[in-house]
């Protein structure tokens, strides 16, 4: 068992940012600047493929969750991403993805297979990070915990939430059902799911099949026109409202 080590700390506009490591996994914990003493719910996030824990999409979502709702938010670099080394297997799969992309071949089969491999490595890391964060006095074990991950974040998040009873609400989206549908059938917590209607990589019926697979009694699908990378910004605010409803806080839109 490793324990959480804080390695850097900064603060801006009402949000405290603390880098941490847990063993060799680097992560970041964002919290209300005023309130590390007051317990608050936690949202675990997972970043998209090729990105990292502090990608602007992560920092932007964290700002909404922290300053809008008072939540704590944590992300870790996925295996082979951000500050983590790539294995020979990572290098080979990334090269194969770039080759397929350049050749105009479908990316889906490679992404599905590689993300599934990454999820096997990442799920135990997310469990360990949640253990360690719940040892922190400002989080604890009584506060609700949510999960938010799109694209590769869904490939990691669906297997994670399927085995992690501490997650009580999750936002997923934009992934193929192949490696995930069977695991989604074990998920019963409320979910919000994003899908792009004109996704050039993921066929509509595939995205709909993954949404359909969740056993959740309460689930919402948000489809928007546009291609894979054109997920509208207002879906981030929608996800934050979803977490506010389900983790028991009020969202106050930043000015």
């Amino acid at each position: 068992m490793y324990s959480l080590q804080f390695t850097a700390e900064s603060s801006s506009n009402g949000m405290l940012e603390r880098d941490f490591t847990l063993g060799d996994v680097p992560g970041v914990l964002w919290s209300p600047a005023s309130g590390t003493a007051d317990r608050a719910p936690l949202v675990l996030m997972a970043h998209g493929g090729g990105n990292h824990k502090k990608h602007p999409a992560m920092a932007g979502r964290a700002r909404l969750l922290v300053t809008g709702c008072g939540f704590h938010v944590a992300v870790i670099d996925a295996p082979g991403h951000g500050d983590r080394p790539r294995t020979a297997h990572d290098e080979a799969e990334v090269a194969e993805l770039f080759r397929a992309r350049a050749a105009g071949e479908p990316e889906g089969p490679i992404v599905v297979r590689y993300n599934d491999h990454l999820a096997e490595r990442a799920v135990p890391e997310y469990v360990a990070v949640l253990d360690a964060l719940q040892d922190r006095p400002e989080i604890g074990t009584d506060e609700s915990v949510g999960f938010w991950g799109i694209n590769m974040g869904t490939a990691i998040g669906v297997p994670f939430v399927a085995v992690e009873p501490r997650i009580t609400a999750a936002v997923f989206g934009q992934h193929w059902p192949d490696a995930l549908a069977e695991k989604a059938k074990r998920i019963t917590v409320p979910i919000e799911f994003d899908l792009q209607w004109d996704d050039e990589h993921i066929a509509r019926e595939d995205g709909l099949a993954l949404f359909d697979a969740f056993a959740s009694k309460e689930k919402s699908l948000h489809v928007n026109s546009g291609k894979h990378k054109e997920l509208p910004r207002y879906e981030a605010e929608s996800a934050v409202r979803f977490f506010a409803r389900h983790l028991g806080r009020t969202f106050t839109s930043p000015a």
Copy 2:
């Protein structure tokens, strides 16, 4: 040409309610209590089948739009609904619907056919009401106009918006594509569309086909688990945020 006649006026909690008639069509106009002198955008609404202009769903949506965004909101009774007489044809169709429902037969074919008939009668009424409302000093012709109608409101709204260039954003949902898809193909303004994933009347593929038919470059689909009448309340707030974005106002959630 008839002109708008106000027949009653009341005010509560920051919202002015004025009943009106335009010829033999009864309607209601909700406005900010403080601001009938200040011009503001207008949202036209259409109620659901078997309901009427002041159904709690209409009044509730109006309150969000008026007190949250400062919009004007108008609804009229559909033909054969609310304070309007039923024709022999209305009586026969309603009786046929109740008979099918009691016999456990599909309601779709009857609803599709009857709603299409009602839309033919209602569309010119909506055009005339919009003309008359734009003659009002607090609305005018320079302010944006939106349309919001679910169920029968969509059966009336799709043909209306397809022929009405003054509508610049619309919320629809929960209807069969049969009589509407061809008209939806002529609609290019931004839309938000609601669909219930476990609708006992409208098959998923039918709901998705109607969403797909809209030619709008910017369109969003909100699917929720649950049956036909279980559309979640938070979709009303989502629709109000949609109108705030597209009609150029800010939504301030009522306390």
